[in-house]
């Protein structure tokens, strides 16, 4: 009897592996192998198309440490991620709280905030180049109309990265808003009612009731935000090509420059590895800080 049971289990396991095989084949070829290879390449001098690679040991890593541009690029990447994510989530939260009620024109509002998600990054980048244009761009025209000075936006090395941050907030807030809105709909309204009767103000209700109750979703949105921040490559490529003076150069773009423009695959792989570590660290940090504080509805 038990032998037959064991055989059935073995059969199920084999079938399960067969089910996993198609996915695993593609994951192994296009996710695991490239990651492993990236570490292997970083220890070598690699030329594209040349099967011979030369051992360099830790030389590429020494170079990274001494590369002033690399540190600037890393700082830019950190700046982009650490501003874009909080700004878009804050905007998304405010919009979601505002829309979490019976409101006329609800569908229109939701679509108005959500549609940027569906615009290709290249199209979004191009339109914003136009909107930011120093001479004839509508943003400067609007600033002029209310008596503010014209800004050079993408041509100003102090402003260019912030300009991309603003654009990203426009692109992603609507998506985060939708996810938060779905979570808000599950918060029992008697909680608000009770708090309101106790004279708790709107801001306090947001901080002490709403945010704790939707914290699992907020945490999820932060993770999604980190994953979407990879896309900054598209905006940098389309809008600034890393300039002016490398003020918008980010890790993904720097990998591209080294690998594709300078054909230095070994060094580009080394930078790519720092990107992997950066993202892993960021997600790990978020999981350890925010993930720990998450409250689940109905759990003590």
């Amino acid at each position: 009897m038990s032998q037959r049971f064991a055989r059935a289990r073995r059969k199920e396991a084999l079938l399960a592996y067969a089910f996993l095989f198609p996915s695993f084949l593609f994951l192994a070829t296009f996710t695991y192998w490239p990651i492993i290879r990236s570490f292997w390449f970083s220890l070598h001098d690699v030329v594209l198309g040349d099967p011979e690679i030369f051992w360099m040991g830790a030389e590429n890593y020494m170079r990274v440490l001494d590369d002033a541009l690399f540190w600037k690029v890393l700082a830019n990447t950190a700046f982009y991620t650490l501003t874009t994510i909080p700004i878009s989530i804050l905007a998304a939260l405010l919009l979601a709280v505002a829309l979490d009620r019976k409101l006329r024109g609800m569908a229109i509002y939701r679509s108005a905030f959500f549609y940027p998600v569906m615009i290709p990054s290249v199209a979004a980048g191009m339109v914003w180049v136009f909107l930011y244009a120093p001479g004839y761009g509508p943003i400067n025209a609007a600033l002029g109309a209310i008596g503010l000075p014209h800004l050079d936006w993408l041509y100003d090395s102090d402003l260019a990265l912030s300009a991309i941050v603003i654009m990203s907030a426009w692109k992603y807030s609507g998506y985060f808003m939708l996810i938060l809105l779905a979570a808000l709909k599950l918060v029992p309204s008697d909680l608000y009612e009770a708090a309101r009767l106790d004279g708790v103000s709107g801001v306090q209700r947001l901080l002490h009731i709403t945010i704790p109750l939707i914290s699992p979703t907020l945490y999820f949105v932060v993770v999604i935000g980190i994953l979407h921040s990879y896309q900054v490559f598209d905006y940098v490529y389309v809008m600034t090509q890393g300039g002016p003076a490398d003020s918008t150069n980010v890790l993904t773009y720097y990998i591209y420059q080294n690998g594709f423009q300078y054909q230095d695959i070994g060094y580009a792989s080394t930078v790519a590895n720092t990107l992997l570590v950066f993202m892993l660290g960021l997600i790990g940090l978020v999981a350890l800080t925010l993930g720990r504080r998450v409250h689940y509805l109905g759990e003590k």
Partner: protein, 298 residues
């Protein structure tokens, strides 16, 4: 991560709205007036880039640079559209976009259905480790590993072909995760009953599970199509001739060849590229909103 990222199939089995409908008090009516006062300007601000795309595509070249010209085009000028279509093979781009997005979707639906079923309903050694390995792809998408992937495809001789834009995306850790959540919600009695009737796993998957998780399949389809239809970086890196380029790449090239000067033609091109998805969005608004909305809800 496991506990928070979860997907609720929209429609089937969604918990009832807890909020009781109350008679709208004067207080809430005043509040919603205030809200409109804030939301309308913010909404207009959000829509303005789209309005700018469409309006600029209908202007003349001179109008764009004229500071005196108003927000609206003086006369509707549709000439930019045929002009744009004439400078680049948008028909080829469109067909390529459809082929690439469609192939990715079909591949993904097959791989994620099988994998998600195994993770949700079967027992086997190393299940946890394998599942974590699947999620690794979510953390390290193509943006993180494009360089070595390019080398791999170069070795396969696939650079500048349509498959190059498809194969890296055929497996989807995210899709597997999403579908596993839905499969787990299917009552065990259903599959047990089918089991007793002598059905194998494949038959149960096909006849019992797939019909029940349709909302999730639709949600995944929408998210996958939006993502890959709009993909820019990877197609940019692996293509170098017009016969394999997709719409976003064609649009990017248009910007380069015009060196940013001819905004009217560029915005006409942008309108052409963004309209298919936006059109679908307008028609199937609820489906789109629901799909994206419930990607994050536990």
């Amino acid at each position: 991560m496991d506990a928070t990222i979860a997907e609720r199939p929209s429609g089937a089995g969604s918990p009832p709205a807890i909020k009781p409908t109350r008679r709208r008090s004067l207080r809430s009516r005043i509040a919603s007036c205030w809200l409109h006062l804030v939301l309308i300007p913010v909404g207009l601000l959000w829509i303005s880039p789209l309005a700018w795309i469409v309006l600029t595509s209908l202007k003349t070249k001179i109008e764009v640079f004229d500071p005196e010209a108003g927000f609206l085009p003086a006369a509707l000028n549709f000439a930019n559209y045929p002009a744009t279509l004439a400078v680049a093979p948008f028909g080829t781009y469109l067909i390529n976009s459809i082929l690439v997005t469609g192939s990715i979707l079909i591949g993904q639906l097959i791989t994620i259905t099988l994998a998600a079923y195994a993770f949700a309903r079967m027992e086997f050694p190393f299940k946890k480790i394998l599942f974590t390995l699947f999620l690794l792809q979510v953390m390290f998408p193509i943006y993180a590993i494009f360089l070595t992937n390019f080398v791999t495809l170069h070795e396969f001789g696939l650079i500048n072909t349509l498959p190059a834009m498809i194969v890296p995306f055929v497996a989807s850790g995210y899709g597997t995760f999403m579908l596993r959540q839905s499969f787990r919600q299917v009552p065990a009695e259903l599959s047990d009953a089918a089991r007793l009737d002598g059905c194998g796993h494949l038959e149960i998957l096909w006849h019992v599970f797939l019909p029940l998780v349709q909302p999730t399949l639709i949600a995944f389809t929408i998210i996958s199509v939006v993502t890959h239809w709009n993909d820019y970086m990877w197609p940019l890196l692996v293509t170098n001739s017009d016969d394999v380029r997709t719409l976003p790449i064609g649009l990017g090239l248009l910007a380069k060849s015009d060196s940013g000067a001819d905004w009217t033609r560029l915005m006409a091109g942008t309108t052409i590229v963004v309209s298919p998805l936006l059109l679908f969005f307008v028609i199937f608004q609820r489906r789109f909103i629901d799909s994206f909305m419930h990607t994050g809800v536990k």
